[in-house]
């Protein structure tokens, strides 16, 4: 597997603001790297540097084997970029927008037309392809924007928050298209604020905060990092809470936490076999339970814990300054 995107110690400052503070990234062909981060964490800056729109302050990066600074024109031949807003010309039709890009990519008039129609069909525009794109819904404009970045069959695709503001159905449609592209070998760098989107699409996730990668790994690895799974048992009768806690402590070796208000006993659970054991044991001692669940932490938990931890750490420093 070849490396499609590589960044080393990339930094970028705007005046006194350090938007990127030394990030390393690596995206193999045919995979998706999800860049997760709150607003202002440096996601867009990273994408703009890699797409040759913005020079880095220091560090180096290559895309498709070409250096983004010294070989920017070559980089542009292998990339597609879909930005945060749909950069389509509202006064051209869908087909015309794509033809325009095709012509700029040195396709002949007929080739450009052919490619435009092909993409319009593939992305399910049907007859809308002949309408002015300013009449499109938000979802269609985004899809057209994505189509525009696909005209040149890019090996590397940058998607900067491609589904922000889209309804769930459009979002799922967008995901399906992205998956197809990746299956064809395209490398994708995806920035998103939607954790579910990263969970669905990304092979690897890098969590960005204040211009640094504060965590990286697969979705599962990240979830495991904040501590595996949690077994939650809800009793019918509050009287049973202590008995349940005692049984869980005996089975897991961990001290359960008891929430009397919600009649919930929680304990970290390392393996799923535990669930069966707990059910059997509680049945044996005759405790009736209302609910039992093994909950995996969501990416939201990961995100909130990572970013929350930073925010908590920074707070004293910020208020002192």
């Amino acid at each position: 597997m070849s490396i499609a995107i590589q960044a080393q110690a990339l930094t970028r400052s705007f005046g006194d603001t350090r938007a990127l503070d030394g990030i390393d990234l690596e995206v193999p062909s045919g995979t998706v790297l999800g860049l997760l981060g709150p607003n202002g964490s440096g996601k867009t800056t990273a994408v703009r540097i890699l797409a040759t729109l913005l020079p880095p302050s220091s560090g180096r990066a290559s895309v498709g084997g070409f250096d983004v600074v010294r070989q920017a024109p070559q980089v542009r031949t292998v990339i597609g970029l879909t930005g945060q807003y749909a950069a389509v010309d509202g006064n051209l039709t869908g087909v015309e927008n794509l033809e325009l890009i095709g012509r700029l990519l040195d396709l002949s008039r007929s080739q450009a037309r052919h490619r435009a129609v092909e993409l319009i069909e593939r992305l399910d525009f049907a007859d809308a392809g002949r309408r002015l794109s300013k009449t499109y819904s938000g979802g269609m404009r985004r899809r057209l924007d994505l189509a525009a970045s696909l005209v040149g069959r890019p090996r590397v695709l940058f998607l900067d928050e491609p589904t922000t503001g889209l309804d769930p159905r459009s979002r799922i449609g967008m995901w399906a298209i992205i998956r197809e592209l990746v299956a064809d070998g395209t490398a994708v760098l995806l920035t998103t604020q939607y954790l579910e989107e990263a969970d669905q699409l990304a092979d690897e996730i890098a969590v960005l905060d204040l211009g640094r990668v504060i965590a990286a790994g697969t979705s599962d690895e990240l979830k495991r990092r904040i501590g595996g799974q949690v077994l939650e048992v809800r009793t019918v009768d509050p009287v049973d809470l202590d008995a349940v806690a005692a049984e869980l402590a005996a089975l897991t070796g961990d001290a359960p936490s008891i929430d009397r208000a919600t009649r919930l006993v929680k304990v970290p659970a390392q393996d799923t076999v535990l669930v069966a054991a707990v059910v059997r044991r509680l049945d044996e001692v005759g405790i009736v339970i209302a609910d039992l669940a093994l909950r995996r932490p969501s990416l939201d938990d990961v995100f909130l814990q990572l970013i929350g931890r930073r925010a908590a750490m920074n707070e004293p420093a910020t208020s002192a300054a």
């Binding site: 970029l81 807003y85 700029l104």
Partner: protein
């Protein structure tokens, strides 16, 4: 070069597609032509001979001056919409985007001038020189329009907000048009103001177009117009291209 032409095509499609764009840029000068002819010809004709003959070259210059504004608005809108980013991520020459725009502006100018002349002819405008000076006037007008379009491109790329671009129209273009010989002969303006009118390039171009189409001494105003055109063209094309290259 092909890329620039492809982008020129895009802008020309806009003229057809955007309701009001073509209309605004064509109808507005014609409106001025009618307004000034009906309102002022009685007063001004005493100084100019037939006012419509004086007025038509003036309104052509007014139209050219507005090109600064039209181009600035268009360039700024593309910048804000991320369309410029898309073009910058494509393997095309850095100059193609701006030159495509400017070429379409030149074509737009040419078409509009012809329409204006036709409207002027209906109101009684007549050429009184030969083919060569008339063609020369036409080329001079377009060259000046192109130079101003470069200034507009630079403004569009540099302005921080659409409002800032709008203010260029009201704060610079409109007053400069009136502080010139576009609508009235320089000699009818109070003495102290004549100084301003005389250094205004719009005066030189209006006078040059009048000399080339109606007769009179041509060398002075034509040379001054060419000097201004070259100066504006060289300065602002360099500034605009530099600005485009440094976009981030």
């Amino acid at each position: 070069m092909v890329h620039a032409l492809v982008l020129t095509h895009r802008h020309l499609l806009h003229l057809i597609r955007i309701p009001g764009l073509a209309l605004w840029s064509t109808a507005q000068p014609i409106l001025f032509l009618l307004l000034f002819d009906f309102m002022f010809s009685g007063v001004i004709s005493r100084d100019t001979g037939d006012y419509i003959d004086f007025l038509v070259p003036g309104v052509v210059v007014q139209f050219l001056a507005l090109t600064v504004f039209t181009t600035a608005v268009g360039v700024h809108a593309d910048l804000c919409a991320g369309i410029v980013d898309r073009f910058r991520s494509l393997p095309i020459a850095r100059s193609a985007v701006l030159s495509g725009r400017i070429l379409s502006d030149a074509i737009r100018c040419a078409v509009n001038i012809v329409v204006l002349l036709a409207a002027g002819a209906l109101l009684g405008f007549r050429f009184s020189t030969g083919v060569v000076p008339i063609v020369g006037a036409f080329l001079l007008a377009i060259a000046f329009g192109v130079a101003l379009a470069w200034a507009g491109a630079w403004i569009g790329l540099t302005a921080r907000s659409p409002e800032a671009v709008q203010s260029v129209g009201s704060i610079w273009v409109v007053p400069l048009t009136f502080l010139s010989s576009v609508f009235v002969p320089t000699r009818t303006v109070p003495g102290w103001l004549q100084t301003v009118v005389k250094v205004n390039p719009l005066t030189d171009v209006a006078d040059a177009l009048r000399a080339l189409t109606l007769g009179g001494p041509t060398t002075g105003p034509v040379l001054a117009s060419l000097a201004w055109t070259t100066g504006v063209l060289v300065t602002f094309s360099a500034l605009a291209v530099r600005r485009y290259r440094r976009l981030e």
